[in-house]
Amino acid sequence: MSEPLLEIWNLTASYGRAQVLFGLTFGLNAGEVLALIGRNGAGKTTTLKAIMGLVPATAQKATFKGRSLARLPTYKIARLGLGYVPEDRRIFTDLTVEENLEAGRKAAGPGRSPWTPERLFRLFPNLAEMRGRRGNQMSGGEQQMLTIARTLMGNPDAILLDEPSEGIAPVVVQMMAEAIRAMKAEGVAVLLSEQNWAFAAGISDRTIVIERGEMRFQGSIDELMTNESLRAETLGI
């Protein structure tokens, strides 16, 4: 197997004196969907933020496309081609849909067909109808679509997607699943954090289960589902 796109060795992170991540090691391959599953407070969000350089963290090794992420400021990490969609969406509420997309725009790498607002509107038809609308007049689901579209405007090679199914209507959850499949079809790798294992199971190639900042399982979702004791212990199902 070739080198993973994103490689993380022994990632640890702390908030003040409270350590929340205790040495996570994993890789994300090009074009795959990897689900990071765990309960509330397991450390999923922190893992994604740590990779983006948004929380202080240390790792033995952290590379993306072979480039070290250590001590890089967040914007440089993003410019390497790593997109980030936060769980609380954080669209710019004063900006219109089109302006939000403009804020996320970055040039595509060589040989890639860049994402444009028009392409994204085909992926999320709801957004096309509200191009001039401000973010503060959008529903949670619409905001979730916009935040993913905004990140795609940066033409990333991989996206860190934090709980895309949280707090939105079931019909929109279905659209999220579609969107993730569409990204995968475009060759974008996705590292997905989820509590909703059913949602994750439907779209991911591999899963990682974390519990209290430690990795408990890594493998296919089928393996996880057959391992009843692990499931009960870590996911409570």
Partner: protein, 615 residues
């Protein structure tokens, strides 16, 4: 008073509104993106005026004409823009994450540095700039003559508004600036280099400040006092309009310009009061100004003292310190005692501020108001009622407490930067009253002949009296800090929502703390008045408030004893260094900046951290 006169007055209002808007627009843009209230914005305005007043005449010698004049104005603004870039790269960039108090103090350090540098570079004299070629003849409006240059100024405001609006709405830079105004972290996660964005914003903001200043040269001569007078007005404009809102700044500037133009007809001496009263009223009704909004994310976080283990030696230490201080008259001469008296007074003043900032998280930028009220209260009691010191001091304390009670009622409704600006405004109102109500307060000259009673008139006895009052008050305040009331204040400082959720009435607690703190500052002010024998409006000025903040900063905001140590250090340094150099403000400014950057914990805090690490 006929129609044509009113029309001219309205036009005058419009032209000052325009000038004010151009400057304030830069301030609000910079705040919107960086979340830093840049005290040095007024200094940039002043540099703009000095640069233009120096540069434009030289250019006009080369080639006389309107094009040269306006090119000179533009060049001056660009130079100021570049100075803004320098300030961003050297200073602001390092303090974006710092608590707002440190940001305000650091930029005030820049104000001090620029004051001395301006005099060094441009000389101590005011510089009158040239009039604009082609605009020297007045125009006739409704039968009255009106300077044609003012008409250009009136047009300049809307033009700047339109250009800034286009920049923000129609360019990628504008989209990113507005996005960064709301969520800096997210904009970084989208791959935008904030540093570049911030530097660009600082250039724009400083450019506008420089433009505002440069446009003034045909109207007023460039002078060394313009920085603080414009910054106070620009603060009011941005706060009333809503911090970060450009249209808000425009509306607020219009209202303030007209209010001043017509206010001067009704209350000839009260223009300052009118402006700050407007701010007080607007903030009382709309705590975030016309178009402002509650802050979502920012560098705002409270710093303050935390609980310490009770040391069994504490009472002994206190006894030893007070005992040592009480025996100072045995070795010190009259001069030493005079300095020591002043240090004790300022220690009490700084300590009263600690109750607000360190304990309550209420960042007051106008604490001089209460120091001055105490001083004036005592002095007025002596002058108008011939009261002795024993009655005049409580009168001063009472006046300060009432002042704090009234101002506090407005202030505790606010938070963060709006609160700091409101306290600043309140102090400026009181300053304006003391300055302009000459019949009662003596105006600029103040009140003289405020001497202590016979028993305290010797330097030694007044020193011991000051020591006793300061020691008792500080111990009382320490007791308050470590009482349940103090715990409530600290809880509210660290998390308002959680403190409220457990049933604390935050506003009432803060209001009480504000009043107690004001009363203690007033006591210090009263003692100060009797130690000097006089009072004057500088006691109420911004520099006095900043002195108290600097003492806190030097000593350490997270420590209980910090303000006491800070007062001593600042006073001794000033006493020793000021006679040696004319550049005291430059040194003080650089020291403030250095402390913010290198020792944000202050002296006491640094020593404590070092000892904890050793242990």
């Amino acid at each position: 008073m006929d129609l044509s006169f009113l029309a001219i007055q309205a036009l005058n209002g419009l032209s000052s509104a325009s000038s004010l808007f151009i400057t304030a627009c830069g301030l609000t843009l910079v705040f919107g993106v960086t979340r830093i209230v840049n005290f040095a914005h007024g200094s940039l305005y002043m540099i703009g005026a000095y640069t233009a007043a120096t540069l434009v005449p030289r250019l006009l010698e080369l080639s006389f004409g309107p094009a040269t004049f306006w090119a000179g104005i533009l060049a001056s603004a660009i130079i100021v823009g570049l100075i803004g870039v320098l300030i961003e790269v050297l200073l602001l960039r390092r303090i974006y994450g710092a608590p707002e108090l440190f940001q305000l103090l650091a930029t005030f350090g820049v104000v001090l540095v620029v004051q001395d540098l301006t005099i060094l570079i441009f000389g101590p004299e005011d510089i009158l700039g040239p009039r604009a070629p082609g605009l020297r003849a007045p125009v006739e409006i409704l039968g009255r003559r009106f300077p044609s240059y003012e008409l250009v100024l009136i047009a300049a405001g809307p033009i700047v508004l339109a250009l800034v609006w286009l920049l923000l709405r129609k360019t990628r830079f504008g989209v990113l600036v507005r996005a960064a105004t709301q969520d800096r972290e997210m904009i970084a996660a989208l791959g935008v280099n904030q540093a570049l964005l911030f530097t660009g914003t600082l250039f724009l903001g400083a450019f506008l400040a420089g433009l505002g200043g440069a446009l003034q040269i045909p109207r007023v001569s460039a002078n060394a006092g313009m920085d603080l007078s414009i910054i106070a007005e620009a603060f009011v404009v941005t706060v009333v309009g809503g911090m970060g809102s450009v249209p808000g700044a425009f509306l607020a500037a219009l209202i303030i310009g007209e209010l001043q133009a017509f206010g001067i007809l009704i209350f000839p001496k009260s223009t300052l009061v009118v402006v700050f009263l407007l701010m007080a009223v607007v903030l009382a009704v709309r705590p975030y100004g016309f178009f402002g909004r509650p802050e979502v994310i920012g560098g705002t976080h409270a710093v303050g003292i935390s609980s310490q283990k009770h040391s069994p030696f504490a009472p002994l230490t206190i006894l030893a310190v007070v005992g040592t201080l009480a025996s100072l008259p045995l070795i010190g001469d009259a001069y030493v005692l005079k300095v020591a008296t002043e240090i004790l007074i300022f220690a009490l003043f700084a300590f009263s501020l600690q109750l607000l900032i360190g304990v309550s998280g209420v960042v007051s930028f106008g604490h001089a108001a209460f120091f001055g009220l105490g001083a004036y209260g005592a002095a007025l009691a002596v002058k108008w009622f011939a009261l002795p010191m024993e009655a005049a001091l409580p009168a001063g304390l009472f006046l300060a407490a009432v002042g704090a009670l009234i101002i506090g009622a407005f202030v505790v409704r606010l938070s963060g930067i709006y609160l700091a600006m409101m306290t600043l405004a309140a102090a400026q109102i009181i300053f304006a009253v003391a300055f302009q109500w000459v019949d009662v307060t003596g105006g600029d000259n103040g009140i003289v002949g405020v001497w202590p009673s016979a028993w305290a008139s010797r330097q030694v006895s007044y020193y011991l009296f000051t020591l006793a009052v300061t020691a008792v008050t500080v111990l009382l305040l320490m007791r308050i800090i470590n009482a349940p009331f103090g715990y409530s204040l600290r809880a509210a400082r660290d998390s308002e929502a959680r403190a409220e959720a457990i049933g604390l009435k935050i506003r009432q607690h803060r209001w009480l703390a504000f009043t107690i703190s004001g009363a203690a500052a007033g006591l210090a002010g009263g003692i100060y008045a009797f130690s000097r024998g006089s009072v004057d409006p500088t006691l109420l000025g911004i520099p006095t408030s900043v002195d108290a903040l600097t003492m806190l900063l030097i000593g350490g905001i997270q420590t209980v004893t910090g303000p006491l140590v800070g007062a001593g250090v600042l006073h001794v340094l000033r006493d020793q260094i000021m006679p040696l150099t004319s550049l005291w403000r430059l040194l003080l400014g650089l020291s403030i900046i250095a402390i913010v950057l290198i020792f944000p914990r202050g002296l006491v805090g640094t020593v404590r951290t070092w000892r904890e690490e050793q242990a």
